[in-house]
Structure formats: structure tokens, C-alpha cells
């Protein structure tokens, strides 16, 4: 990811509406905004249909400074003073709440989505280099998918307004809900301005906050934020696997890697005629144990042993884990390239 050298791209995301007739309260808002926004010298003439209606005072839903919830959220997330309240307020407005993209979190969401997706994928690829592609996607989704980020937003204590009217508090998540019975995926795909689900809106809000951290606080702060909020969550990567023919796959793996063919051996059993028998089977390559599994029948134990052997292969984690984004912060950082393996077993 390239460092942002100039601030033009930041401007396009955060530029407030510069209308020709500036009202007193509006000008107060602009002067108290961050230096970035005030650097937007040229007022843009918006297209006729998106011309915002000029009001004498800011409506409460767009008046960031009038809300008590926003500074509370800012403090709760431990954001730097450089991060303005106005960006937080903008992150709370879903595209379904406002037609004008200048007031919504659409662009922030795109940036935040790219960032979170990249950092999660990078971490998983370096920590588990042999992970199969499907499992990698599932793990990335478990860290930064809609469900995960929506629950993160809920943990941050963000509440949503029932309807995105002008009188709601600026510190509430504003989005218009879909009618009951509507298929959310189809509706969101068709028109994001028509309506959204709470999960989708909350996830986009979290992504927008991330984008704000990147834009206002910088790269190392973003990484720290990501580590503290996303990577600190527990994910059992070994529970994400689902093999269809594990014994066959293990046999192909041993043939590919040049190991001796797998042989299942009975390590322990409670007895063939036990009421609820337990068999412990280990899969050996020569005299080396690859995986161990237990089950109520010999078949079950053998299959589970093959599954555990395959998991032992795919969940290999190197001792030194250097993330590629380490080089973004300082060019002189010593970087050890990640382990790259031939790929998953083709049956």
C-alpha cells in the first residue's frame, strides 16, 4: 500500500459542502474542522439533483458538535486528537440514509474494506502459510467479514436510529431499514440507497472508522488499531476445516512429499465388545506418527486420524513471522520473506 504523499485523495473523502451563500453557523463549522478540510480551497458546484438544501441551522443528525455520544465514542476508542469528530459523524451515516455521497460513509467504507481485508489476509498468510485457499477465505471472513465487524461495532456501544430523520442524534448509526421479508443480499446488490440491514450498516461503520484512523492518525496507528480490535479476537483456525476424503488426500500428500505411505495403527481401545467402545488410531508414515484420532468405531478413528494429520500439515506456522507491511513503516527494516509452499493437495 503506497503512502499518501499529498492530501488530494483525503480531500475528496472529507470535503464538506462549500455552498456559495455561507451561513454564520456553517462557516463556524468549517473553520473548526480539521486543517485538511479547510485546505479545500476551491468550492465545487454540485450537480443540480444533488444540490443540498440550504437550511438556516444544521439539523441535529448532521450537527456533530451538538452530540454528546460522539466525543464519548471518540474517547472510548482512544482515538488521537487529530481524528476529528466530524469524520466519526460522517462514518455513522449509511448511503441508505442520504442520497448525497458527500455526507455518507460510502468512500470511507471502500478504503476501510481494503485496509481490513489486506491486514487480515496478510496476517493469516504469514502465520499459516500452508492454509488451503477456501479455509483462508473463511478465516479472513471470520476476522473482518460483515458478521465480525458488526459485532465489533456493537461492542463499541454504537446504537442505531430507527429511522434516518433529520432530528436524530448525530452519534447514532443512521440507515434506512429494509421492509420485512425482503431478501437483504438481493436488495443491497440492487440499490444500496434503498435500504440496508443493521449488520451491513454496522460493519460498514466499523470499516469507515478504520479508514478514518488511517487518514488522520497514520499507518502505525492503523496497524495498532487493527491488532487491538481485530486480531485480538479468538479464532480457532483448526475448526474451519471440512475434508470429504481425508484418507485419500493424506495418501496423495505423502506421495507428493516423498514420505512413506500412511498406515493406520491401533494405539488403544476399550475392547471390541464394549458398550460404547473408544478406539484410538494413529496414522504412521514409516515409524513417524503423523496424526492421531479417536472414535466409536475403527472407521471413525481412522478417518479422524487422517483429518488430524492433514490439519497438522496445513496449520504449520513458521517461528519468525515478518508481515510484508513491516517495510512500509521503515525502508531499512530487516524483512525475512514468508514461507511459500507448493499448495494444497490435489486429489
Amino acid at each position: 500500500m503506497k503512502r499518501i504523499r499529498n492530501l488530494t485523495s483525503v480531500n475528496s473523502l472529507l470535503r464538506p459542502v462549500a455552498a456559495p451563500a455561507i451561513n454564520a453557523s456553517l462557516s463556524l463549522l468549517h473553520s473548526s474542522a480539521s486543517t485538511v478540510a479547510s485546505a479545500a480551497a476551491i468550492p465545487e458546484t454540485p450537480s443540480p439533483e444533488l444540490q443540498p438544501q440550504l437550511l438556516s441551522t444544521l439539523p441535529p443528525s448532521r450537527n456533530a458538535l451538538a452530540s454528546a455520544k460522539l466525543p464519548a465514542l471518540h474517547a472510548r476508542l482512544n482515538l488521537h486528537p487529530n481524528y476529528p469528530i466530524q469524520t466519526l459523524a460522517r462514518a455513522l451515516v449509511d448511503p441508505s440514509a442520504d442520497k448525497n455521497p458527500r455526507f455518507t460513509n460510502q468512500n470511507l467504507t471502500t478504503l476501510g474494506n481494503t485496509l481490513t481485508g489486506y491486514y487480515a489476509a496478510e496476517y493469516l498468510m504469514v502465520t499459516y502459510p500452508r492454509l488451503p485457499t477456501e479455509v483462508l477465505y473463511a478465516a479472513v471472513s471470520a476476522y473482518v467479514g460483515n458478521k465480525a465487524l458488526a459485532s465489533l461495532g456493537r461492542e463499541w456501544g454504537i446504537e442505531s436510529a430507527f429511522e434516518p430523520t433529520a432530528d436524530v442524534d448525530a452519534g447514532l448509526l443512521q440507515f434506512s431499514r429494509l421492509a420485512p421479508g425482503v431478501d437483504p443480499k438481493a436488495a443491497l446488490h440492487r440499490d444500496p440507497h434503498a435500504g440496508s440491514t443493521l449488520e451491513h450498516a454496522m460493519a460498514n461503520l466499523v470499516r469507515s472508522v478504520f479508514a478514518g484512523v488511517y487518514l488522520h492518525e497514520g499507518l502505525s496507528a492503523t496497524k495498532q488499531f487493527f491488532r487491538q480490535h481485530v486480531l485480538s479476537r479468538k479464532l480457532d483456525v483448526d475448526k474451519l476445516f471440512d475434508f470429504t476424503q481425508p484418507t485419500r488426500e493424506l495418501s496423495r500428500l505423502c506421495a507428493r512429499e516423498g514420505f512413506e505411505p500412511p498406515v493406520a495403527r491401533l494405539l488403544a481401545e476399550t475392547g471390541r465388545h464394549s458398550r460404547h467402545p473408544v478406539f484410538v488410531v494413529g496414522v504412521y508414515s514409516g515409524s513417524e506418527l503423523m496424526g492421531e484420532g479417536h472414535g466409536g468405531s475403527l472407521d471413525e478413528a481412522r478417518i479422524r486420524a487422517a483429518v488430524n494429520a492433514l490439519k497438522g500439515w496445513y496449520l504449520y506456522s513458521p517461528p519468525e513471522k515478518d508481515l510484508p507491511s513491516k517495510t512500509e513503516e521503515s525502508r531499512d527494516a530487516k524483512f525475512k520473506p514468508a514461507y511459500i509452499d507448493p499448495g494444497e493437495v490435489i486429489v
Binding site: D242, F243, G282, S287, M290, E300, G312, L315, Y316
Partner: protein, 163 residues
Amino acid sequence: MLRIHPHPSMILNANSPRTDHIVYNPPSSAPTPLITPTLFLPKDDPRRRLFAAAAAAPPKPANQLPPPLREPYEKSYHLTLADCKRMRSLRNTDPGRWHRTALAKEFNCSSLFVGMVCQASEERLAQMAFRAEKVKSRWGPKRTIAREDRQKRRAGWGGADGL
């Protein structure tokens, strides 16, 4: 009263350490797949060297390993392309007589290999599926549910059941 022998590390003899030392005696539990077996580590991983240094016993010879579930056998690759073609033609001409087991016996290979080489015609497959459906329709509720449960249980063994 449960009478078990003490762990070897708890028995004092002439070779016991005289100073404070750590006794590693973990309870028996299922091993976790997050610990990679030494065989699966890449060649340049530093842990290979460390495990080799810490290895207590040499690897056991084959006759001292636990008994195999199925005796290992030598795979023979005696079937040629002509044999496979003949296998397919037999299957196509009379699938009733030349089923997988019969073909396996004729060509001295496994039924699995026969299944990889040739499949019965669509008509035959549909006929057998119809017969199976007729048998399954005569099952009572208990048998149907038991069969469905067994299918779900087997499908979960691949990792989907969270064990």
C-alpha cells in the same frame, strides 16, 4: 481404590537429580493439530534441530509399532491400457453379470480401481437407483431416521462436527 504405579519420575533412585528440577508429566489428552509433527516441518525450520537434540528414544522398528488396522500390501501395476478397455467393454455389454466385484476378481485388482476405470451406463445407474428407492420407501420411521443420522455423523468426521 484405584491402584496405579507411580510415575517413573516420582521414584527415587541413584540416578535421581539432587537439585531442584522440573518434572514434566502432563495428563493424557488428545494432541492438538496446531503442533506440527517433525516430519511435516520444512527442511530449514530451526525446530527440527531442536527436536532432534531433545529426542529421548530412537524411532521404533516396524515390528514394535502398534498393530496396523489393515495389513500393508504391495501395490501392483499389472493392468495395461488394453485391459482397461476390455474392462469397460465388459461393463457396457452386461452390467448385470460384470459388476464391480466380478470385474475385480477377473482382473485381480480392487473394486475401487474398477470404479475409477469404468462406470455403468446411465440407464443401469438409473435402474439401480430406482431399486434402492423402492427398498428405502419400505423402511419405517426409526430405520429412516437412524440411517439419516448415521449419514450426518459420517459427514461430520471430516472436521465439520468441531471435534
